[in-house]
């Protein structure tokens, strides 16, 4: 009876994994397709990769997106770490419930609402104070920092919650000032969470289409905006090549992160 049960389970979850990976694998295979017709096989070729790197529109948009992602992820990591720290280490203060709400809500908020509301804020601010003058990289950075901040805060908060507080208490008993306590004890302990928060923010910012479309100005198209306008008109083989490159990069990063975290958790287990 038990054996049969686990066989059904294996079959069902196996089908689930096939569902998760079949489209990705198909896209990778098609990226090496020589044929101009995406879905007709014309033999192996690296043609579309060459085509991709020659496409100036895609390349310049990729550069804009990488810049925005780097700045937003860094800002979000600083602000998100502060928010996560405040929420998990500081006892009651006025507005704590509000801050909890503001940190959690962006995680599920439909992107069209976030995008529209930030755009209207920027327009109103410009009307009232003349800042920000026009929209572009800076307004996208502000928007991305805001929603990435929430992800960092949640990751940092859960890391702090699982952390043994005795180390921090010991440092405090030994007379460490709050700032040195934070930088010498707490920060190194939550560093893995901050790094994974940074990486998550970086990929989320690199991937965002909807919010960036609302808050960007003319001439500041990000990579997803260029991809979207291309694939809207139909499938384009260069996008397959681009997707493959991104998938490879992400896979390497995720595998590296898991290996590092796994090693660290084993190290922690041994030390306990």
């Amino acid at each position: 009876m038990k054996q049969g049960n686990s066989l059904t389970l294996k079959f069902m979850s196996g089908a689930g994994f096939v569902f998760l990976y079949a489209p990705i694998i198909a896209m990778i295979v098609y990226s090496f397709n020589d044929s101009k017709l995406v879905t007709v096989w014309g033999g192996w070729s690296l043609k579309w990769y060459a085509e991709l790197f020659r496409n100036e529109q895609i390349m310049s948009a990729a550069w804009v997106s990488l810049k925005i992602a780097f700045i937003s992820a860094t800002l979000a990591s600083v602000l998100g770490t502060l928010a996560g720290f405040v929420l998990s280490r500081m006892r009651k203060f006025v507005g704590k419930a509000m801050l909890t709400g503001w940190v959690t809500a962006p995680l599920v908020m439909p992107e069209v609402i976030t995008g529209l509301s930030l755009l209207l804020l920027f327009v109103s601010l410009e009307n009232m104070f003349g800042w920000p003058a026009g929209r572009g990289v800076m307004t996208i950075v502000i928007a991305h920092t805001t929603f990435c901040l929430a992800y960092v805060a949640v990751v940092v908060q859960s890391r702090l919650a699982s952390l043994d507080e005795t180390l921090e208490e010991a440092a405090m008993d030994l007379g460490a000032k709050p700032t040195s306590l934070f930088f010498l004890i707490t920060l190194p302990l939550i560093a893995p969470a901050i790094i994974s928060g940074w990486l998550l923010s970086f990929t989320l910012s690199l991937d965002d289409l909807v919010i960036a479309s609302f808050v960007s100005g003319p001439g500041n198209s990000t990579l997803p905006m260029v991809i979207f306008s291309k694939v809207r008109l139909g499938v384009t083989p260069e996008v397959n090549a681009l997707a493959t490159l991104m998938i490879v990069a992400v896979s390497i990063a995720v595998i590296a992160a898991i290996v590092i975290l796994h090693r660290q958790s084993r190290y922690n287990d041994v030390n306990k």
């Binding site: 049960n5 979850s13 990705i24 198909a26 801050l99 503001w102 920092t145 901040l149 995720v254």
Partner: protein, 311 residues
């Protein structure tokens, strides 16, 4: 005498340190708080304000609520509920809301159906296998959302792989129109949001005490009985969290209906987008956003509260 001054000095230093502490504490709290107030909370108030304005052909394309007439020294305050009235009067918006809720609910259900066995298998695997399987779930979550939707565009075309396979197996003799249908939208939502379902399910299933199932089976429960009477109730928190994490963003989804859906696939996120980018009716787009928020505020609060409990 001497000792008193030392004590005074110490006291002084202590109060100084305390006030420094309080200042530092306030600063640490205020920095993220002010950022989120400015760029998350206040924008909603702006949306609400503009939803009460009228669309005009100007830059920016909406009428001001307050107007100061300097010649007559009159301050006029103009609120326009027309956008909201129109939302309720026109079948179009109501249909779009209902159809979004329906599409999101059905997709959530299927995501749960597909996600549960995966989460269950991962939670019951050994430590190394568990990490590998978790990585396999997380990997698509980190790869571009837009490109994963695009991958389905390639697969579902008339000459795409799905139709080729179906024709080769003889199930159909004419290629099916799958792309640009509501079915493709369901598929896209389930596919892209599946990791959001699996991860909370896994977390709650992992915490479960397996002895409880053994106990139930020792007491004569059949496997399906122990599943429905023991496992499911214990995984309730994960099921609710996973469903909300899929349902809420799916209601406002724009990219998936735009790329996979047909022109008749009505979703409110798409309506908002078109209202804004094509009709340039900012006040109407704002009213649509406010109504969407009102519909979703309950589920969003629920997510927030469950997050608080974790804390």
């Amino acid at each position: 005498m001497m000792s008193e001054t030392t004590i005074d000095k110490k006291k002084h230093r202590l109060t100084w340190r305390l006030s420094e502490l309080r200042l530092g504490r306030a600063a640490v709290i205020l920095v993220p708080m002010l950022w989120l107030a400015a760029f998350f909370f206040i924008p909603f108030l702006v949306v609400f304000k503009i939803s009460l304005a009228e669309a005009v052909i100007a830059i920016p394309p909406y009428s001001p609520l307050l107007q100061w007439d300097s010649s007559s020294a009159y301050l006029t305050f103009k609120i326009n509920f027309g956008n909201y009235l129109y939302l309720f009067e026109s079948r179009f918006y109501l249909d779009a809301y209902l159809s979004s809720l329906k599409i999101a609910a059905i997709s959530t259900f299927f995501a749960l159906l597909i996600g549960f066995p995966i989460a269950y298998l991962i939670a019951r695997s050994g430590p190394t296998k568990r990490i590998i399987l978790l990585a396999l779930v997380i990997l698509p979550f980190w790869t571009s959302f837009l490109l994963r939707v695009y991958a389905w565009m390639v697969l579902l075309r008339k000459d795409g792989l799905v139709n080729d396979v179906l024709m080769a197996t003889g199930l159909i003799d004419q290629p099916l129109q799958i792309l640009q249908t509501e079915f493709a939208v369901y598929l896209g939502i389930v596919y892209t949001y599946l990791p959001f379902m699996i991860l909370p399910l896994y977390t709650s299933l992992e915490k479960m005490d397996l002895n409880l199932i053994d106990a139930a089976q020792d007491l004569g429960a059949k496997p399906y009985q122990s599943f429905f009477l023991v496992t499911l109730p214990l995984a309730k928190a994960g099921i609710i969290a996973g469903c909300l994490l899929v349902f809420i963003p799916a209601v406002g989804e724009y990219v998936i209906p735009a790329l996979l859906g047909g022109s008749d696939t009505l979703m409110i996120g798409r309506v908002l987008w078109d209202e804004f980018f094509q009709n340039r009716d900012w006040p109407m787009a704002s009213a649509v956003a406010v109504m969407m928020l009102i519909v979703l505020v309950g589920p969003i609060m629920y997510v927030r509260n469950s997050n608080k409990e974790v804390e």
